[in-house]
């Protein structure tokens, strides 16, 4: 067998559920996990005679997300009916956008492993209403829950610009951060707020000739992990299929496969692409949307720095590790809080440690954002400052931050109250250190013996000093005295 080389092509179709107050075309509240068919009205039930009324907030949210994805917003957009029969679709047509979508020609920048950004082109983004859910738990009958019917969805279609499973995951995560940054979606994959349908195929070079494998659309992906795994699996499967049976792309051999999360394989769902005829036509019940410049400018003013850019800036500007920068920029509230604390004089690395080691843990436990914990950015900056000045240890700073959240008191007051101000007084420390040396002759001997044992013994002795001072000894000063005494 000759040399085989291949390139992966993945494009995504993504549905993002917008977190508007009400549904796309009626005034029912959005709900998750409510009693079936309790969040419905004649409009989203598709009763005879009802008419849809467009939710302006959904259009705003969609435009905001599309702008963040660098899309062009159409000056004129309209609503179309997409016809198909399914029990979870009460009108048997879905109100969507066909030939004049809200947004086109954008791109999203995703972080690569090399630490740079890669542009993935976005073909279009449009608004549509979600369907309900069919439940198959009642024996001979299926039941339909229409709580979700009419929920606003932003459908985003990318070009097939992703060339690995990792890139697909990176895009998915970046998109999640973006829509959360903008506050247009909760983007919880488990709750179906973000649904990804990748289209995967390979371009294989064998013996100097190029072959394309048939495109596979993968469905039923409920987590980032499933998304990544399914593409990894497809790459292997398609390569094998080509090498073993020579299967290549032909007219109409695109297929749909479902991801089996337990077995971690994709399973064939539909062999041939069905010749769907959705009979799209403009919905006569809705008026087209004219996008005005003033309106668009107002939406643009709500844009902010996107997470991937922010992450790179944190590394460059604040000298943070890429990992820490990633953690801090994952949510807008965290990043905003971090920057506020830095702007209030906190040393970035100190602030970063406080937030990543304590703040986020507390916020997660309370299911809130860092900003909602209580202490404001100035308090955290102050805490970082006194740590930086050596007045308290880094360990003590963590304890103090936790107490700040619990009690609402300021950092300095807590440091004093908890007796965490460091002992930097050489005289006092000297006495304690002498005592420690006296009590641990073996360690002193080990230290003097040099080699491996020596540094271990030094560490042990310093630890004893810290223990005696209940952590309040300034480690720098203590080490200096210890070293002097031992040599």
């Amino acid at each position: 067998m000759g040399k085989v080389d291949y390139k992966v092509l993945v494009g995504l179709e993504i549905h993002v559920q917008l977190c508007t107050r009400t549904k796309m075309f009626c005034s029912c509240a959005l709900a998750f996990g409510e009693e079936p068919n309790s969040r419905v009205c004649p409009v989203c039930l598709g009763m005879p005679g009802v008419l849809p009324v467009m939710n302006g907030q959904a259009v705003e949210f969609a435009a905001l997300a599309a702008l963040a994805l660098n899309c062009q917003i159409a000056g004129f957009t309209k609503w179309d009916r997409k016809s198909y029969y399914y029990p979870d679709l009460p009108k048997n047509y879905q109100i969507s956008q066909y030939d004049l979508p809200l947004a086109i020609n954008g791109h999203i920048e995703i972080p690569t492993q090399a630490g740079s950004l890669k542009k993935i082109r976005i073909r279009r983004a449009h608004l549509e209403e979600d369907a309900g859910k069919n439940l198959h738990t009642a024996g001979n009958f299926s039941q339909v829950d229409l709580n979700r019917a009419g929920t606003p969805l932003l459908e985003i279609v990318t070009e097939p610009d992703m060339s690995s499973a990792a890139e697909v995951r990176a895009l998915a995560e970046e998109l999640q951060r973006i829509v959360r940054y903008l506050g247009v979606s909760e983007a919880d994959m488990q709750k179906g707020h973000m649904r990804f349908e990748p289209n995967v195929n390979l371009v294989i070079t064998k013996d100097g000739k190029q072959y394309k494998t048939p495109i596979v659309e993968v469905k039923n992906l409920n987590s980032f992990r499933a998304l990544e795994k399914s593409i990894e699996y497809e790459i292997g499967r398609q390569l094998d299929e080509f090498l073993e049976m020579g299967v290549v792309m032909e007219m109409g051999n695109k297929s749909t496969r479902g991801w089996d999360d337990a077995k971690e394989v994709t399973v064939l769902q539909r062999e041939k692409e069905e010749a769907h005829d959705y009979r799209y036509f403009p919905d006569p019940d809705l008026v087209p949307v004219q996008v005005g410049e003033q309106w668009l400018n107002e939406i643009k003013s709500r844009l902010c720095e996107m997470p991937s850019k922010r992450r790179i800036r944190y590394v460059k500007e604040y000298g943070l590790s890429d990992y820490d920068a990633g953690v801090l920029t994952a949510e807008r509230a965290t990043a905003d809080f971090f920057e506020a604390a830095v702007n209030a004089g906190g040393e970035p690395k100190r602030v970063c440690n406080l937030l990543t080691q304590v703040g986020l843990k507390l916020a997660n436990a309370r299911a809130c954002s860092i900003a909602e914990l209580g202490p404001d950015a100035e308090d955290v900056a102050e805490l970082a400052k006194i740590t930086e000045a050596g007045e308290i240890s880094a360990t003590a700073a963590n304890v103090i931050l936790e107490e700040m959240v619990k009690t609402g008191k300021g950092p300095r007051a807590l440091a004093e109250q908890l007796n965490l101000i460091q002992k930097s007084d050489a005289g006092e420390l000297e006495g304690i250190i002498s005592e420690v040396l006296q009590n641990n002759p073996q360690a002193v001997e080990d230290f003097k013996s040099g080699g491996k044992k020596s540094s271990k013994a030094r560490g042990f002795l310093l630890g004893q000093v810290m223990q005696k001072t209940k952590g309040r000894a300034n480690p720098g000063v203590a080490a200096e005295i210890l070293d002097k005494k031992l040599t």
Partner: protein, 489 residues
């Protein structure tokens, strides 16, 4: 037997001269007598109607304020949703359907203290021109019970003609108010698209449908319009007050339009029966005699109206009627083998022949590969027809023509020839395509004693003037005072 107009009755009720209970009882007495022959109603609400009537009488006796239609017995076409009774659309698929909400127009009638008599028969889902397509019952023309009342609002027009209510609501997608009004000798107005909320009107052709009054007189028509017209936030296609304020249709109704210019399209009228043509010509002459100028206008695209209409209306209908699938409400087939059969059998059993025909036509017109040739082309024709009217109205205030090419035809005469039936709408369809208002007013009788209607079309949102023009004629003539003999038989 004779009875007052809705406006006259309203005034008498308000002054206490006549009780609403008395008037309502009289209506139900006429229903008891004539309804077995006419068959105008799918459902009636005698008890609720009398309750409402006595409530109105009581309030008037106490000197409390009452609405514009205080105590007036009114009927509603059975394709408008009501929380009371059923909303059947004269279809087996919705035979037992109870709507969970009131259509906006119905809510407005209720708020105006109308007494709701019942819900009237129609061609199934308003598809037809004779009310013969009703899946639930037959309605006869009160002027000749062997003949059709027209359609699709045939139940409403027959009820008004026979005194089985004082006024009614109809809906008009291609002539469904005006054509049966003409065939039953009553007044029927299709308002400008967007003037009356469509919320709660069961959709047939959404871009064409409009609710409008069916009345004994032009004055009654103005009265009902002042109740039902107006912007509705629940209907995105209804027009807001800033763009086109709702006029006071009654205030200046009796003021004749000065220097009235009437447009006519003689070549287009040639297809109508001679007696219809003559009656319409006489009516136009009457306007001329009282000072109006009559001029010919060029409407080059009118001939294509029917073709365009049957593409657009059926395309929209095929989508609008997709929801009747036996899954969520309405008729469901017994013991289906799978969910596909729930759809196919429920729909096959529930829909009548004409509905199926139109759903098929519309599905075809929207199918990929045919869309451009049919639907898109029809939309272009529609724009050309709109343009014809815009140009015509530069030189005239209104256009007059027949409503229907013939007077009422015999039951069964055209039912097996859909194309012949579709031609019944040749004069009415253009107004729906252009979205403009048009009224049918009685203008005579043929040799067989069957009523003939005059159609007057006006620019969009010109209802106030249109009603004044129609009123000028009504005041000169007695056609609208003639009653069919049915209630005396």
């Amino acid at each position: 037997m004779d009875w007052p107009s809705a406006k006259q009755l309203r005034d008498k009720i308000k002054t206490g001269e006549v009780g609403s209970v008395t008037a309502t009882r009289e209506v139900f007495a006429r229903i008891a007598k004539a309804e077995p022959i006419v068959g105008a109603y799918i459902s009636t609400f005698e008890e609720a109607a009398l309750d409402k009537a006595s409530e109105v009488d009581r309030r008037i006796a106490k000197g409390e304020s009452v609405g514009q239609l205080a105590g007036v017995p009114i009927a509603i076409k059975d394709n408008m949703c009501t929380t009371f009774g059923t909303t059947t659309c004269a279809s087996k698929i919705l035979e037992n359907f109870q709507a969970p909400y009131n259509a906006t127009a119905v809510a407005k009638l209720l708020a105006a203290d109308a007494v709701i008599v019942g819900k009237t028969n129609l061609d199934e889902f308003a598809m037809g021109s004779s009310t013969e397509n009703s899946g639930l019952k037959r309605t006869a023309n009160p002027w000749d019970t062997k003949r059709v009342p027209g359609g699709s609002s045939g139940g409403s027009t027959a009820a008004v003609a026979a005194g089985l209510c004082y006024a009614a609501l109809g809906s008009d997608t291609g002539g469904s108010i005006r054509q049966p009004a003409s065939l039953c000798g009553v007044v029927g107005l299709k308002p400008t698209y967007g003037r009356v909320s469509r919320y709660g009107l069961v959709a047939y052709g959404s871009s064409l449908d409009q609710i409008g009054p069916v009345t004994q007189t032009v004055e009654d028509c103005a009265l009902l319009m002042s109740v039902i017209a107006g912007y509705d936030p629940a209907d995105s296609t209804s027009i807001d007050e800033q763009t086109a304020p709702v006029g006071d249709y009654l205030a200046k109704l009796d003021e004749p339009v000065k220097e009235l210019r009437i447009g006519i399209v003689p070549s287009f009228n040639a297809g109508a029966d001679e007696q219809v043509r003559n009656a319409v010509d006489e009516a136009i002459k009457a306007y001329g005699n009282s000072g109006a100028t009559v001029l010919e206008v060029d409407m080059p695209h009118l001939d294509y109206a029917i073709a365009a209409y049957y593409v657009i209306a059926t395309a929209e209908a095929s989508s609008n009627l997709a929801r009747y699938d036996g899954v969520h409400y309405g008729h469901r087939t017994q013991e289906p083998n799978d969910y596909i059969e729930v759809y196919t059998k429920s729909r096959a059993e529930g829909f009548g022949k004409e509905v199926k025909r139109r759903v098929m036509l519309g599905t075809y017109a929207l199918s990929s590969g045919y869309y451009d040739a049919y639907y898109l082309k029809a939309l272009k024709v529609r724009n050309l027809i709109r343009g014809d009217f815009v140009r015509a109205f530069e030189s005239c205030d209104c256009i007059m023509m027949p409503v229907s090419p013939t007077t009422a035809f015999k039951i069964g005469e055209k039912i097996d020839d859909p194309l012949k039936m579709y031609l019944s709408d040749i004069y009415t369809i253009a107004a729906n395509l252009a979205g403009i208002p048009a009224i049918s007013v009685p203008c005579g009788f043929d040799n067989g004693g069957l009523p003939i209607g005059l159609q007057i079309l006006s620019p969009a949102f010109g209802e106030e003037k249109l009603l004044r023009i129609a009123r000028m004629y009504e005041k000169q003539t007695d056609w609208h005072k003639k009653r069919p003999l049915i209630t005396d038989e």
